[in-house]
Protein backbone atom coordinates (compact mmCIF):
# COMPACT_ATOMS: atom_id res chain seq x y z
CA UNK A 1 0.00 0.00 0.00
CA UNK A 2 2.81 2.36 0.87
CA UNK A 3 4.35 1.72 -2.53
CA UNK A 4 1.14 2.74 -4.28
CA UNK A 5 1.27 6.01 -2.45
CA UNK A 6 4.97 6.56 -3.17
CA UNK A 7 4.46 6.00 -6.88
CA UNK A 8 1.27 8.06 -6.98
CA UNK A 9 2.99 10.97 -5.29
CA UNK A 10 5.86 10.97 -7.77
CA UNK A 11 3.41 10.87 -10.65
CA UNK A 12 1.32 13.65 -9.14
CA UNK A 13 4.39 15.86 -8.74
CA UNK A 14 5.42 15.04 -12.28
CA UNK A 15 2.20 16.52 -13.65
CA UNK A 16 3.11 19.86 -12.17
CA UNK A 17 6.23 19.98 -14.28
CA UNK A 18 4.54 18.70 -17.40
CA UNK A 19 3.39 21.13 -20.10
CA UNK A 20 0.77 18.63 -21.29
CA UNK A 21 -0.84 18.57 -17.87
CA UNK A 22 -0.89 22.36 -17.70
CA UNK A 23 -2.42 22.55 -21.16
CA UNK A 24 -5.12 20.09 -20.15
CA UNK A 25 -5.82 21.92 -16.90
CA UNK A 26 -5.91 25.28 -18.61
CA UNK A 27 -8.27 24.12 -21.35
CA UNK A 28 -10.67 22.42 -18.97
CA UNK A 29 -10.81 25.35 -16.59
CA UNK A 30 -11.18 27.85 -19.43
CA UNK A 31 -13.97 26.01 -21.23
CA UNK A 32 -15.85 25.36 -18.01
CA UNK A 33 -15.38 29.00 -17.02
CA UNK A 34 -16.91 30.14 -20.30
CA UNK A 35 -19.83 27.76 -19.93
CA UNK A 36 -20.31 28.98 -16.40
CA UNK A 37 -20.28 32.61 -17.47
CA UNK A 38 -22.82 31.92 -20.23
CA UNK A 39 -24.98 30.16 -17.68
CA UNK A 40 -24.98 33.11 -15.34
CA UNK A 41 -25.70 35.44 -18.21
CA UNK A 42 -28.59 33.29 -19.36
CA UNK A 43 -29.95 33.08 -15.85
CA UNK A 44 -29.71 36.81 -15.33
CA UNK A 45 -31.64 37.49 -18.53
CA UNK A 46 -34.34 34.98 -17.78
CA UNK A 47 -34.84 35.94 -14.18
CA UNK A 48 -36.01 39.39 -15.27
CA UNK A 49 -38.79 37.71 -17.16
CA UNK A 50 -39.21 35.45 -14.16
CA UNK A 51 -39.43 32.18 -15.99
CA UNK A 52 -37.11 29.18 -16.10
CA UNK A 53 -35.72 27.36 -13.13
CA UNK A 54 -32.62 28.08 -11.12
CA UNK A 55 -29.49 27.02 -12.97
CA UNK A 56 -27.80 23.88 -11.75
CA UNK A 57 -24.37 22.42 -12.21
CA UNK A 58 -25.31 19.80 -14.77
CA UNK A 59 -24.26 21.93 -17.71
CA UNK A 60 -20.82 22.37 -16.18
CA UNK A 61 -20.35 18.74 -15.19
CA UNK A 62 -21.83 17.64 -18.50
CA UNK A 63 -19.21 19.65 -20.36
CA UNK A 64 -16.54 18.46 -17.97
CA UNK A 65 -17.00 14.79 -18.77
CA UNK A 66 -17.00 15.58 -22.47
CA UNK A 67 -13.65 17.30 -22.02
CA UNK A 68 -12.37 14.25 -20.19
CA UNK A 69 -12.90 12.12 -23.29
CA UNK A 70 -10.48 14.39 -25.10
CA UNK A 71 -7.96 15.15 -22.37
CA UNK A 72 -7.47 11.99 -20.31
CA UNK A 73 -5.64 10.24 -23.18
CA UNK A 74 -3.09 13.06 -23.06
CA UNK A 75 -2.68 12.61 -19.32
CA UNK A 76 -2.31 8.84 -19.37
CA UNK A 77 -0.46 8.14 -22.62
CA UNK A 78 3.01 8.38 -21.14
CA UNK A 79 2.31 6.86 -17.72
CA UNK A 80 3.70 3.41 -18.46
CA UNK A 81 4.83 3.60 -22.07
CA UNK A 82 7.35 6.30 -21.20
CA UNK A 83 8.87 4.17 -18.45
CA UNK A 84 9.31 1.50 -21.04
CA UNK A 85 10.94 3.89 -23.49
CA UNK A 86 13.30 5.41 -20.91
CA UNK A 87 14.18 2.02 -19.51
CA UNK A 88 13.02 2.99 -16.03
CA UNK A 89 10.55 0.13 -16.19
CA UNK A 90 13.55 -2.08 -15.47
CA UNK A 91 14.09 -0.05 -12.33
CA UNK A 92 10.49 -0.44 -11.23
CA UNK A 93 10.29 -4.13 -12.08
CA UNK A 94 13.44 -4.90 -10.10
CA UNK A 95 12.42 -2.79 -7.11
CA UNK A 96 10.44 -4.58 -4.41
CA UNK A 97 7.14 -3.39 -5.83
CA UNK A 98 4.31 -5.61 -7.03
CA UNK A 99 3.24 -5.08 -10.62
CA UNK A 100 -0.27 -4.23 -9.42
CA UNK A 101 1.09 -1.66 -6.94
CA UNK A 102 3.01 -0.04 -9.76
CA UNK A 103 -0.07 0.20 -12.00
CA UNK A 104 -2.41 1.32 -9.21
CA UNK A 105 0.14 3.93 -8.14
CA UNK A 106 0.25 5.31 -11.68
CA UNK A 107 -3.51 5.40 -11.81
CA UNK A 108 -3.81 7.05 -8.42
CA UNK A 109 -1.27 9.70 -9.38
CA UNK A 110 -3.31 10.61 -12.46
CA UNK A 111 -6.49 10.51 -10.44
CA UNK A 112 -5.15 12.86 -7.78
CA UNK A 113 -4.17 15.30 -10.50
CA UNK A 114 -7.64 15.23 -12.05
CA UNK A 115 -9.18 15.35 -8.61
CA UNK A 116 -7.27 18.56 -7.97
CA UNK A 117 -8.73 19.99 -11.16
CA UNK A 118 -12.21 18.82 -10.17
CA UNK A 119 -11.79 20.46 -6.79
CA UNK A 120 -10.84 23.74 -8.44
CA UNK A 121 -13.98 23.66 -10.59
CA UNK A 122 -16.04 23.49 -7.39
CA UNK A 123 -15.74 27.26 -7.24
CA UNK A 124 -18.30 27.46 -10.07
CA UNK A 125 -21.12 25.73 -8.16
CA UNK A 126 -20.16 27.63 -5.03
CA UNK A 127 -20.45 30.97 -6.81
CA UNK A 128 -23.65 29.80 -8.42
CA UNK A 129 -25.04 28.80 -5.07
CA UNK A 130 -24.47 32.29 -3.74
CA UNK A 131 -25.95 33.98 -6.79
CA UNK A 132 -29.30 32.27 -7.07
CA UNK A 133 -31.77 32.94 -4.35
CA UNK A 134 -32.85 29.55 -3.01
CA UNK A 135 -29.38 28.16 -3.76
CA UNK A 136 -28.64 25.34 -6.18
CA UNK A 137 -29.88 21.82 -5.79
CA UNK A 138 -27.19 20.31 -3.58
CA UNK A 139 -28.27 16.76 -4.31
CA UNK A 140 -27.78 17.21 -8.03
CA UNK A 141 -24.47 18.87 -7.44
CA UNK A 142 -23.13 16.06 -5.29
CA UNK A 143 -24.30 13.31 -7.59
CA UNK A 144 -23.08 15.11 -10.69
CA UNK A 145 -19.65 15.56 -9.15
CA UNK A 146 -19.66 11.93 -8.05
CA UNK A 147 -20.29 11.14 -11.71
CA UNK A 148 -17.35 13.28 -12.84
CA UNK A 149 -15.11 11.57 -10.30
CA UNK A 150 -16.22 8.09 -11.35
CA UNK A 151 -15.76 8.86 -15.03
CA UNK A 152 -12.32 10.36 -14.39
CA UNK A 153 -11.28 7.29 -12.42
CA UNK A 154 -12.60 4.94 -15.12
CA UNK A 155 -10.98 6.80 -17.98
CA UNK A 156 -7.68 7.01 -16.15
CA UNK A 157 -7.72 3.31 -15.37
CA UNK A 158 -8.39 2.45 -19.00
CA UNK A 159 -5.72 4.93 -20.07
CA UNK A 160 -3.12 3.44 -17.73
CA UNK A 161 -4.01 -0.06 -18.92
CA UNK A 162 -3.63 0.94 -22.56
CA UNK A 163 -0.42 2.83 -21.84
CA UNK A 164 1.02 -0.37 -20.39
CA UNK A 165 0.18 -2.30 -23.54
CA UNK A 166 1.95 0.09 -25.89
CA UNK A 167 5.60 1.05 -25.74
CA UNK A 168 4.89 4.14 -27.82
CA UNK A 169 2.98 6.98 -26.21
CA UNK A 170 1.43 8.26 -29.42
CA UNK A 171 -0.01 4.83 -30.10
CA UNK A 172 -1.27 4.75 -26.52
CA UNK A 173 -2.88 8.17 -27.00
CA UNK A 174 -4.85 7.19 -30.10
CA UNK A 175 -5.95 3.82 -28.81
CA UNK A 176 -7.07 5.39 -25.53
CA UNK A 177 -8.98 8.10 -27.35
CA UNK A 178 -10.63 5.53 -29.65
CA UNK A 179 -11.65 3.45 -26.65
CA UNK A 180 -13.30 6.45 -25.02
CA UNK A 181 -15.04 7.49 -28.22
CA UNK A 182 -16.26 3.93 -28.57
CA UNK A 183 -17.57 3.75 -25.01
CA UNK A 184 -19.04 7.20 -25.13
CA UNK A 185 -20.66 7.41 -28.57
CA UNK A 186 -20.50 4.20 -30.53
CA UNK A 187 -21.29 1.29 -28.29
CA UNK A 188 -24.84 2.48 -27.63
CA UNK A 189 -25.86 2.47 -31.31
CA UNK A 190 -26.88 -1.17 -31.67
CA UNK A 191 -29.24 -0.73 -28.72
CA UNK A 192 -31.53 1.43 -30.85
CA UNK A 193 -31.30 -0.73 -33.95
CA UNK A 194 -31.36 -4.30 -32.69
CA UNK A 195 -34.86 -5.76 -32.23
CA UNK A 196 -33.71 -7.68 -29.17
CA UNK A 197 -30.62 -8.08 -27.01
CA UNK A 198 -29.86 -4.39 -27.24
CA UNK A 199 -29.80 -4.02 -23.46
CA UNK A 200 -26.21 -5.12 -23.20
CA UNK A 201 -25.13 -2.33 -25.55
CA UNK A 202 -27.33 0.03 -23.64
CA UNK A 203 -25.54 -0.98 -20.45
CA UNK A 204 -22.09 -0.57 -21.98
CA UNK A 205 -22.90 2.92 -23.21
CA UNK A 206 -21.10 5.20 -20.79
CA UNK A 207 -23.04 8.39 -21.31
CA UNK A 208 -26.34 6.84 -20.24
CA UNK A 209 -24.74 6.04 -16.88
CA UNK A 210 -24.05 9.70 -16.46
CA UNK A 211 -26.39 12.04 -18.33
CA UNK A 212 -29.52 10.10 -17.53
CA UNK A 213 -28.78 9.45 -13.88
CA UNK A 214 -25.81 10.86 -11.95
CA UNK A 215 -25.88 14.20 -13.73
CA UNK A 216 -29.53 14.76 -12.84
CA UNK A 217 -29.23 13.66 -9.23
CA UNK A 218 -30.06 9.96 -9.50
CA UNK A 219 -27.58 7.53 -7.98
CA UNK A 220 -28.14 3.95 -9.13
CA UNK A 221 -26.13 1.00 -7.88
CA UNK A 222 -25.88 -0.33 -11.43
CA UNK A 223 -24.14 2.86 -12.56
CA UNK A 224 -21.62 2.64 -9.74
CA UNK A 225 -21.01 -1.02 -10.54
CA UNK A 226 -20.49 -0.07 -14.18
CA UNK A 227 -17.76 2.46 -13.38
CA UNK A 228 -16.05 0.27 -10.81
CA UNK A 229 -15.96 -2.55 -13.35
CA UNK A 230 -14.25 -0.27 -15.86
CA UNK A 231 -11.67 0.77 -13.25
CA UNK A 232 -10.99 -2.87 -12.43
CA UNK A 233 -10.74 -3.75 -16.12
CA UNK A 234 -8.25 -0.96 -16.81
CA UNK A 235 -6.04 -1.77 -13.82
CA UNK A 236 -6.17 -5.47 -14.60
CA UNK A 237 -5.16 -4.83 -18.21
CA UNK A 238 -2.24 -2.72 -17.01
CA UNK A 239 -1.02 -5.24 -14.47
CA UNK A 240 -1.35 -8.14 -16.86
CA UNK A 241 0.50 -6.41 -19.65
CA UNK A 242 3.38 -5.56 -17.31
CA UNK A 243 3.51 -9.22 -16.32
CA UNK A 244 3.46 -10.29 -19.94
CA UNK A 245 6.37 -7.95 -20.63
CA UNK A 246 8.43 -9.84 -18.09
CA UNK A 247 7.78 -13.16 -19.79
CA UNK A 248 8.65 -12.02 -23.29
Amino acid sequence: MKNIWTIAKREYDHYFSSPVAYAVAFTILLVLGIIFALNIFYYAQNSFQSFGSAPDVSSITGAFVFMLVLSVPALTMRLVSDENRMGTLELMLTAPVRDAEFIIGKWLGGFLFLFTLIAITLIYPIILNNLVSPGIDQRVMLSAYLGVILISASFLALGVGISAVFSNQIAAFFVTMSTFVFLWWLVGFPAGILPSGGEIFQYLDMKTHFYDSLNVGVINLSDIVYFISLIALGLFTGTTSVEIRRWR
Binding site: M86, G87, T88, E90, P96, R246
Partner: protein, 307 residues
Amino acid sequence: MIKVTGLTKDYGARRAINNVTFDAEQGEIVGFLGPNGAGKTTTMRILTGYMPPTEGEAIVAGYDVVSESLEVRRRVGYLPETVPLYTDMTVFDYLKFMADLRHLPNAEDRVDESIEMVGLTDRASGFIGNLSKGMRQRVGLAQALLHKPEVLILDEPTIGLDPGQVVDVRKLIREIGKERTVLLSTHILSEAQNICDRVLIINKGKIVTEDTPENLQARLVGAERVILRVRGEADDLAKTVSKVKGVESVEARADGAIEFEFAPGKDVRPEVAKIIINEGYDLLEMRPVGLSLEEIFLELTGSESRS
Protein backbone atom coordinates in the same frame (compact mmCIF):
# COMPACT_ATOMS: atom_id res chain seq x y z
CA MET B 1 24.36 -16.09 -1.82
CA ILE B 2 23.90 -16.57 -5.56
CA LYS B 3 23.26 -20.07 -6.81
CA VAL B 4 22.41 -20.54 -10.44
CA THR B 5 21.62 -23.92 -11.93
CA GLY B 6 21.00 -24.69 -15.58
CA LEU B 7 19.74 -21.24 -16.41
CA THR B 8 18.44 -20.90 -19.96
CA LYS B 9 16.66 -17.98 -21.58
CA ASP B 10 15.11 -17.85 -25.02
CA TYR B 11 13.99 -14.64 -26.67
CA GLY B 12 11.60 -16.10 -29.20
CA ALA B 13 13.74 -18.44 -31.23
CA ARG B 14 17.04 -16.96 -30.07
CA ARG B 15 18.71 -18.62 -27.14
CA ALA B 16 20.42 -15.85 -25.19
CA ILE B 17 21.87 -17.99 -22.41
CA ASN B 18 22.22 -21.72 -22.37
CA ASN B 19 22.45 -23.87 -19.26
CA VAL B 20 24.40 -21.37 -17.19
CA THR B 21 25.50 -22.70 -13.82
CA PHE B 22 27.60 -20.92 -11.22
CA ASP B 23 27.52 -19.63 -7.69
CA ALA B 24 28.91 -16.81 -5.62
CA GLU B 25 29.58 -16.78 -1.90
CA GLN B 26 29.17 -14.02 0.59
CA GLY B 27 32.18 -11.71 0.60
CA GLU B 28 33.07 -12.63 -2.94
CA ILE B 29 33.35 -10.40 -5.99
CA VAL B 30 32.58 -12.33 -9.11
CA GLY B 31 33.27 -10.87 -12.52
CA PHE B 32 31.20 -11.72 -15.52
CA LEU B 33 33.35 -11.40 -18.57
CA GLY B 34 32.30 -11.83 -22.13
CA PRO B 35 32.01 -10.22 -25.55
CA ASN B 36 28.94 -8.31 -26.74
CA GLY B 37 25.82 -10.42 -26.83
CA ALA B 38 27.32 -13.12 -24.62
CA GLY B 39 24.35 -13.06 -22.27
CA LYS B 40 25.69 -11.11 -19.30
CA THR B 41 22.82 -8.65 -19.12
CA THR B 42 20.28 -11.40 -19.71
CA THR B 43 21.65 -13.42 -16.79
CA MET B 44 21.66 -10.38 -14.51
CA ARG B 45 18.11 -9.49 -15.45
CA ILE B 46 17.00 -12.94 -14.42
CA LEU B 47 18.90 -12.73 -11.13
CA THR B 48 17.30 -9.39 -10.28
CA GLY B 49 13.78 -10.64 -10.89
CA TYR B 50 13.26 -8.51 -13.98
CA MET B 51 12.29 -11.53 -16.04
CA PRO B 52 11.95 -15.24 -15.43
CA PRO B 53 14.25 -17.78 -17.09
CA THR B 54 12.94 -20.15 -19.71
CA GLU B 55 14.52 -23.02 -17.84
CA GLY B 56 16.65 -23.53 -14.77
CA GLU B 57 16.72 -22.12 -11.30
CA ALA B 58 18.38 -19.22 -9.55
CA ILE B 59 18.55 -18.66 -5.81
CA VAL B 60 19.65 -15.19 -4.74
CA ALA B 61 20.10 -14.28 -1.07
CA GLY B 62 18.30 -17.49 -0.17
CA TYR B 63 15.19 -16.96 -2.29
CA ASP B 64 14.05 -18.23 -5.64
CA VAL B 65 14.05 -15.48 -8.26
CA VAL B 66 10.76 -16.65 -9.78
CA SER B 67 8.58 -17.82 -6.91
CA GLU B 68 9.97 -15.42 -4.29
CA SER B 69 10.83 -12.56 -6.59
CA LEU B 70 9.85 -9.79 -4.15
CA GLU B 71 12.08 -11.21 -1.40
CA VAL B 72 14.97 -11.34 -3.85
CA ARG B 73 14.34 -7.79 -5.02
CA ARG B 74 14.33 -6.55 -1.42
CA ARG B 75 17.83 -7.91 -0.92
CA VAL B 76 19.47 -7.08 -4.21
CA GLY B 77 20.97 -3.81 -5.35
CA TYR B 78 21.02 -3.54 -9.12
CA LEU B 79 22.68 -1.17 -11.54
CA PRO B 80 21.17 -1.89 -14.95
CA GLU B 81 23.39 -1.59 -18.00
CA THR B 82 21.45 1.34 -19.47
CA VAL B 83 21.42 3.20 -16.12
CA PRO B 84 17.77 4.17 -16.30
CA LEU B 85 16.93 7.24 -14.21
CA TYR B 86 14.07 9.68 -13.91
CA THR B 87 15.78 12.61 -15.54
CA ASP B 88 13.11 15.07 -14.45
CA MET B 89 13.94 14.56 -10.77
CA THR B 90 16.80 15.86 -8.68
CA VAL B 91 19.41 13.41 -7.50
CA PHE B 92 18.12 13.63 -3.96
CA ASP B 93 14.44 13.29 -4.85
CA TYR B 94 15.12 10.35 -7.11
CA LEU B 95 17.09 8.48 -4.49
CA LYS B 96 14.53 9.36 -1.83
CA PHE B 97 11.84 7.93 -4.09
CA MET B 98 13.75 4.69 -4.55
CA ALA B 99 14.49 4.55 -0.81
CA ASP B 100 10.78 4.98 -0.05
CA LEU B 101 9.93 2.09 -2.35
CA ARG B 102 12.25 0.02 -0.18
CA HIS B 103 10.58 1.29 3.00
CA LEU B 104 13.91 2.35 4.48
CA PRO B 105 13.30 3.70 7.97
CA ASN B 106 15.97 6.41 7.83
CA ALA B 107 15.55 7.11 4.15
CA GLU B 108 16.97 10.63 4.06
CA ASP B 109 20.12 9.65 5.92
CA ARG B 110 20.65 6.67 3.67
CA VAL B 111 20.19 8.87 0.63
CA ASP B 112 22.77 11.34 1.92
CA GLU B 113 25.21 8.54 2.72
CA SER B 114 24.84 6.97 -0.71
CA ILE B 115 25.29 10.30 -2.42
CA GLU B 116 28.43 10.84 -0.45
CA MET B 117 29.75 7.37 -1.21
CA VAL B 118 29.66 8.09 -4.94
CA GLY B 119 30.96 11.62 -4.49
CA LEU B 120 27.96 13.56 -5.74
CA THR B 121 27.20 15.64 -2.67
CA ASP B 122 27.58 18.93 -4.54
CA ARG B 123 25.10 17.81 -7.22
CA ALA B 124 22.47 16.38 -4.87
CA SER B 125 19.94 19.11 -5.54
CA GLY B 126 20.59 19.26 -9.28
CA PHE B 127 18.38 17.63 -11.87
CA ILE B 128 19.55 14.25 -13.12
CA GLY B 129 18.85 15.41 -16.67
CA ASN B 130 21.65 17.96 -16.32
CA LEU B 131 24.27 15.48 -15.18
CA SER B 132 27.01 14.04 -17.35
CA LYS B 133 26.99 10.37 -18.27
CA GLY B 134 29.56 9.43 -15.66
CA MET B 135 27.67 11.31 -12.97
CA ARG B 136 24.46 9.50 -13.92
CA GLN B 137 26.34 6.25 -13.67
CA ARG B 138 27.21 7.21 -10.12
CA VAL B 139 23.60 8.09 -9.32
CA GLY B 140 22.68 4.61 -10.54
CA LEU B 141 25.34 3.16 -8.29
CA ALA B 142 24.08 5.17 -5.33
CA GLN B 143 20.62 3.78 -5.99
CA ALA B 144 21.98 0.24 -5.92
CA LEU B 145 23.69 0.90 -2.58
CA LEU B 146 20.79 2.64 -0.82
CA HIS B 147 19.57 -0.31 1.21
CA LYS B 148 22.99 -1.88 1.87
CA PRO B 149 21.98 -4.92 -0.14
CA GLU B 150 23.24 -8.41 0.60
CA VAL B 151 23.81 -8.95 -3.08
CA LEU B 152 24.98 -6.29 -5.48
CA ILE B 153 24.55 -6.85 -9.20
CA LEU B 154 26.30 -4.29 -11.37
CA ASP B 155 26.07 -4.38 -15.15
CA GLU B 156 29.19 -2.67 -16.44
CA PRO B 157 29.60 -0.35 -13.46
CA THR B 158 32.63 1.63 -14.59
CA ILE B 159 31.73 2.23 -18.21
CA GLY B 160 31.74 5.94 -19.02
CA LEU B 161 33.62 6.99 -15.90
CA ASP B 162 36.77 9.09 -15.99
CA PRO B 163 39.98 7.37 -14.84
CA GLY B 164 39.86 8.95 -11.39
CA GLN B 165 36.30 7.81 -10.90
CA VAL B 166 37.09 4.34 -12.18
CA VAL B 167 39.65 4.02 -9.42
CA ASP B 168 37.21 5.33 -6.81
CA VAL B 169 34.36 3.12 -7.91
CA ARG B 170 36.57 0.04 -8.03
CA LYS B 171 37.74 0.83 -4.54
CA LEU B 172 34.14 1.21 -3.42
CA ILE B 173 33.18 -2.12 -4.98
CA ARG B 174 36.13 -3.87 -3.36
CA GLU B 175 35.12 -2.37 -0.03
CA ILE B 176 31.53 -3.56 -0.39
CA GLY B 177 32.68 -6.94 -1.63
CA LYS B 178 34.39 -7.65 1.67
CA GLU B 179 31.12 -8.44 3.40
CA ARG B 180 28.60 -8.75 0.60
CA THR B 181 28.30 -10.58 -2.64
CA VAL B 182 29.04 -8.64 -5.78
CA LEU B 183 28.43 -9.81 -9.32
CA LEU B 184 29.64 -7.41 -11.95
CA SER B 185 29.95 -7.61 -15.69
CA THR B 186 32.65 -6.00 -17.72
CA HIS B 187 34.51 -6.13 -21.00
CA ILE B 188 37.55 -4.67 -19.37
CA LEU B 189 39.81 -7.50 -18.45
CA SER B 190 42.14 -5.51 -16.29
CA GLU B 191 39.10 -4.54 -14.28
CA ALA B 192 38.17 -8.16 -13.71
CA GLN B 193 41.78 -8.83 -12.81
CA ASN B 194 41.84 -5.83 -10.56
CA ILE B 195 38.75 -6.29 -8.43
CA CYS B 196 37.35 -9.77 -8.85
CA ASP B 197 38.04 -12.75 -6.65
CA ARG B 198 36.75 -14.97 -9.40
CA VAL B 199 36.07 -14.53 -13.08
CA LEU B 200 33.40 -16.26 -15.14
CA ILE B 201 34.01 -16.11 -18.83
CA ILE B 202 30.82 -16.35 -20.82
CA ASN B 203 30.51 -16.58 -24.56
CA LYS B 204 27.46 -17.15 -26.76
CA GLY B 205 25.32 -17.81 -23.72
CA LYS B 206 27.58 -20.43 -22.19
CA ILE B 207 30.08 -20.26 -19.37
CA VAL B 208 33.39 -21.09 -20.98
CA THR B 209 35.51 -21.17 -17.88
CA GLU B 210 35.68 -19.90 -14.34
CA ASP B 211 38.62 -19.34 -12.06
CA THR B 212 40.55 -16.72 -10.13
CA PRO B 213 42.23 -14.18 -12.41
CA GLU B 214 45.68 -15.49 -11.35
CA ASN B 215 44.83 -19.13 -12.02
CA LEU B 216 43.27 -18.28 -15.33
CA GLN B 217 46.47 -16.70 -16.37
CA ALA B 218 48.63 -19.49 -15.03
CA ARG B 219 46.42 -22.17 -16.50
CA LEU B 220 46.57 -20.80 -19.96
CA VAL B 221 50.13 -19.74 -20.14
CA GLY B 222 52.30 -22.69 -21.11
CA ALA B 223 55.57 -20.92 -20.41
CA GLU B 224 56.69 -17.79 -18.66
CA ARG B 225 57.85 -15.03 -20.89
CA VAL B 226 60.35 -12.35 -20.00
CA ILE B 227 61.37 -9.25 -21.84
CA LEU B 228 65.01 -8.18 -21.60
CA ARG B 229 66.60 -4.93 -22.65
CA VAL B 230 70.23 -3.76 -22.53
CA ARG B 231 71.94 -0.53 -23.37
CA GLY B 232 73.23 -0.03 -26.89
CA GLU B 233 73.61 -2.44 -29.80
CA ALA B 234 73.27 -6.06 -28.75
CA ASP B 235 73.46 -8.27 -31.79
CA ASP B 236 74.68 -11.28 -29.93
CA LEU B 237 72.38 -10.88 -26.98
CA ALA B 238 69.87 -13.44 -28.21
CA LYS B 239 72.60 -15.95 -28.76
CA THR B 240 74.05 -15.33 -25.31
CA VAL B 241 70.73 -15.79 -23.59
CA SER B 242 69.89 -18.94 -25.49
CA LYS B 243 73.02 -20.53 -24.08
CA VAL B 244 71.54 -20.44 -20.57
CA LYS B 245 70.21 -23.79 -19.45
CA GLY B 246 66.41 -23.76 -19.10
CA VAL B 247 65.74 -21.02 -21.63
CA GLU B 248 63.26 -22.46 -24.10
CA SER B 249 63.01 -19.92 -26.84
CA VAL B 250 64.51 -16.57 -27.61
CA GLU B 251 63.13 -13.98 -29.94
CA ALA B 252 64.59 -10.64 -30.92
CA ARG B 253 62.05 -7.84 -30.94
CA ALA B 254 61.93 -5.06 -33.46
CA ASP B 255 62.81 -2.46 -30.82
CA GLY B 256 66.11 -4.18 -29.97
CA ALA B 257 64.94 -5.93 -26.84
CA ILE B 258 64.58 -9.68 -26.73
CA GLU B 259 61.94 -11.99 -25.29
CA PHE B 260 62.69 -15.39 -23.90
CA GLU B 261 60.60 -18.15 -22.35
CA PHE B 262 61.19 -20.74 -19.72
CA ALA B 263 59.05 -23.49 -18.22
CA PRO B 264 56.84 -22.34 -15.35
CA GLY B 265 58.47 -22.91 -11.98
CA LYS B 266 61.99 -23.10 -13.40
CA ASP B 267 63.00 -19.53 -13.07
CA VAL B 268 66.19 -18.86 -15.05
CA ARG B 269 66.21 -15.12 -14.61
CA PRO B 270 69.11 -15.02 -12.11
CA GLU B 271 71.28 -17.07 -14.47
CA VAL B 272 70.36 -14.91 -17.42
CA ALA B 273 71.15 -11.78 -15.46
CA LYS B 274 74.51 -13.13 -14.37
CA ILE B 275 75.60 -14.15 -17.82
CA ILE B 276 74.73 -10.91 -19.55
CA ILE B 277 76.50 -8.89 -16.91
CA ASN B 278 79.52 -11.13 -17.22
CA GLU B 279 79.42 -10.59 -20.99
CA GLY B 280 79.67 -6.86 -20.29
CA TYR B 281 76.16 -5.71 -21.24
CA ASP B 282 74.46 -2.93 -19.28
CA LEU B 283 71.17 -4.43 -18.11
CA LEU B 284 68.32 -1.93 -18.38
CA GLU B 285 65.19 -3.97 -17.98
CA MET B 286 64.02 -7.48 -17.32
CA ARG B 287 60.32 -8.09 -16.69
CA PRO B 288 57.72 -10.82 -17.16
CA VAL B 289 55.19 -10.31 -19.94
CA GLY B 290 52.83 -13.21 -19.15
CA LEU B 291 49.91 -13.63 -21.55
CA SER B 292 47.53 -10.83 -20.75
CA LEU B 293 43.97 -11.62 -19.81
CA GLU B 294 43.08 -9.99 -23.11
CA GLU B 295 44.88 -12.71 -24.97
CA ILE B 296 43.41 -15.40 -22.77
CA PHE B 297 40.00 -13.97 -23.35
CA LEU B 298 40.37 -13.95 -27.10
CA GLU B 299 41.72 -17.47 -27.00
CA LEU B 300 38.80 -18.74 -24.94
CA THR B 301 36.04 -16.97 -26.74
CA GLY B 302 37.52 -17.70 -30.13
CA SER B 303 37.78 -15.41 -33.08
CA GLU B 304 34.00 -14.76 -33.10
CA SER B 305 34.47 -12.22 -30.38
CA ARG B 306 36.35 -10.03 -32.76
CA SER B 307 33.90 -10.31 -35.63
